[in-house]
């Protein structure tokens, strides 16, 4: 390495203390994907962020051997790249990754009907039932299904580049009265080589026995929010009220037909404590004996999510800007001129100035989502949610309910075990990569959380495909390089910029991030995964049986 050229700590270095006295640190690099353990002296030197030159090395100011210095440089933690050059590299990588995923083809959801037989208080589609367009009466017909299949091939003429799994969505797609058209859709799709999955409440599933199973509707996501007494207070049928018993019976029926069932528990503070009880009920019914059965928890978000968007793209005159003025203050350089190097965000302008003169910096802040409480529910932020699950797993190691952990433990474990490149993502989800939702009105959306809302239409397929290219580009053109906050974030290649619908609901526009507590979750889960891997190695060396792979997906 040529250290006659000025080097400095890479701005994309993530520092994670591994123990309470910080004697060891894990470094993770935000664009090389390197993960290393270093001692405290090295960590502190890098965190200080000073420039490194041959003179300083000769003077012994770098606290390790030349070999270690070169290794840290090779891994990306020490770089000669100027801040703007690092940013430019991240941009080029992001665009490369996005092109790759965007170019991989198309996937489709058919929104069978906007109508639903449930009245769940937290449903994000509640708003569209009041939009005056009679959405609830819109259902696919055989003609519109034919048109939808034709439209798929007009959107992506190469059928081999279309995902072989089509998702049926709603409203409630599997209402009993929809059977004829769903039967038509499934059988026509099967003839074309497709299989199906569906997001359903499971209440009228008994009408679909003939369509369930491998090769047909092979997978169902069904939501159950707790044991009967809890579930029935929130997932109520508009006429019948109680829904729990029938859904459980229908799950049993579907499992017997070898249909994969993914039970989702929409989770907030008040139903969290009942997850264990629900788990026991599933156990008693013998569901866990089926390889087709799994359960996961989904965090119910509050409407007022305060994330780093507030910091990175404050809206002038917005109350939240004033409310979080403390945050902005913390972003400034401290009196001693040292920025917080453990932070999420990078101030490239200041960094560039400092790099041209002396030291480097980074900073961040990530506010909690504000909680929202009602009589039956109280939302919580991501960190509280994860802590609750960790405690639950500690209390019951047999608990087979996975939680939304951004897939981080499995992703990191894959790196550790397989020694593969860490999976980076420049985007968050399929909405940015060729997923289309075709609804019964002949409209096309990219995001299924925003269906039925005119402002989020991207096209129509009524007689021919008509895309609003500008609208499509707002989704498919967005990756972390297009978002100011994400471009400045060390974690961006891990999180992909977050849920666009979440950011849009905050009123922050298309090119905003949705952090959802990601940095703190990362700081928590990555070292836990590492320790778990180390433990597995030690157990293997000692001849002990290692845990099953499925447990990897739980918080460690």
């Amino acid at each position: 390495m040529d250290y006659t050229v000025k080097h400095h700590t890479s701005l994309y270095t993530i520092f994670i203390p591994l123990d309470s006295d910080s004697s060891e640190w894990m470094l993770v690099h935000g664009y090389t994907g390197a993960m290393d353990i270093v001692n405290n002296n090295i960590a502190q030197f890098l965190r200080k962020g000073g420039t490194l030159s041959q003179e300083k090395i000769d003077a012994g100011s770098f606290p390790c051997s030349t070999e270690s210095l070169e290794r840290l440089t090779k891994r990306g933690y020490i770089t000669s790249k100027a801040p703007v050059e690092e940013k430019a590299w991240v941009h080029s990588m992001a665009n490369y990754f996005h092109d790759k995923s965007r170019g991989s083809g198309a996937s489709f959801c058919l929104l069978v009907a906007y109508d639903c037989n449930f009245r769940c208080p937290y449903c994000f589609e509640n708003g569209i039932s009041n939009n005056g367009k009679g959405w609830s009466k819109k259902t696919f017909t055989k003609d519109s299904a034919d048109r939808a299949f034709a439209a798929m091939l007009e959107i992506e003429p190469d059928i081999n580049r279309i995902s072989k799994s089509i998702t049926l969505y709603g409203g409630e797609p599997l209402l009993g009265r929809n059977h004829a058209v769903v039967d038509y859709i499934v059988r026509k799709g099967m003839d074309l080589g497709f299989q199906f999955s569906a997001i359903t409440n499971g209440y009228e599933l008994q009408h679909y026995k003939d369509l369930l199973g491998p090769g047909k509707i092979r997978m169902l996501q069904i939501t159950i929010d707790g044991p009967k007494a809890i579930h029935d207070t929130r997932r109520t049928h508009f006429e019948d009220g109680s829904t729990f018993d029938r859904i459980i019976d229908n799950i049993e029926m579907a499992l017997e037909l070898n249909t994969a069932i993914s039970v989702r528990i929409n989770t907030e503070v008040k139903n969290f404590e009942y997850i264990q009880e629900l788990h026991e009920l599933f156990k008693e019914r013998g569901f866990f004996k089926s390889k087709y059965f799994s359960v996961y928890s989904g965090l119910i978000h509050s409407e007022d999510e305060i994330s780093c968007n507030v910091v990175m793209s404050p809206q002038k005159g917005n109350e939240s800007s004033a409310k979080y003025s403390r945050v902005f203050k913390e972003l400034e350089v401290t009196d001693d001129g040292v920025y917080n190097p453990d932070a999420q965000y990078i101030n490239f302008e200041a960094e560039q100035t400092r790099a041209e003169s002396a030291d480097g910096l980074v900073f961040h802040y990530d506010m909690n989502e504000e909680d929202e409480a009602t009589e039956t529910m109280r939302t919580m932020n991501r960190v509280e949610y994860m802590n609750k699950f960790r405690e639950a797993y500690a209390n019951n190691p047999e608990l087979k309910v996975s939680c939304q952990d951004f897939g981080l433990p499995s992703r990191i474990m894959n790196v550790l075990k397989g020694q593969r490149l860490v999976e980076f993502q420049a985007t968050f989800c399929g909405a940015q990569n060729g997923m289309y939702i075709l609804d019964p009105c002949g409209d096309i959306y990219t995001c299924w959380e925003l269906v039925g809302q005119d402002e989020f239409l991207v096209g129509s397929y009524k007689e021919k495909i008509e895309f609003d290219r500008e609208a499509v580009e707002k989704w498919q053109g967005k990756n972390i390089s297009k978002v100011d906050a994400c471009s400045k974030c060390k974690y961006a290649f891990f999180c992909g910029g977050g849920c666009m619908a979440g950011a849009l609901r905050e009123g922050r526009g298309y090119n905003s991030p949705h952090c959802d507590g990601y940095p703190r979750v990362f700081q928590d889960l990555v070292p836990r995964t590492y320790f778990k891997y180390q433990q597995q190695l030690e157990d293997e060396a000692a001849g002990k049986e290692t845990e099953k792979e499925e447990v990897v997906n739980q918080i460690i």
């Binding site: 002296n41 995923s101 449903c123 989702r264 490149l421 399929g430 997923m435 619908a501």
Partner: protein
Amino acid sequence: MKNKKQPNGDYIEVKSVNENIYDMFSVEELEERLQMSTLNWGCGTDECTSVVIMDSKNR
């Protein structure tokens, strides 16, 4: 001063957890590396669809 790593008395300065990284290579090299790796590109596959389902919110 170096930190103690393990009870056996070993000391470390830098211990790499993973070896395979996105090094500072060109885009062409990136392409080559990625073809050698088994990455899930996140979309258009059955696996991806199931992931998307898992992430659907508040349904």
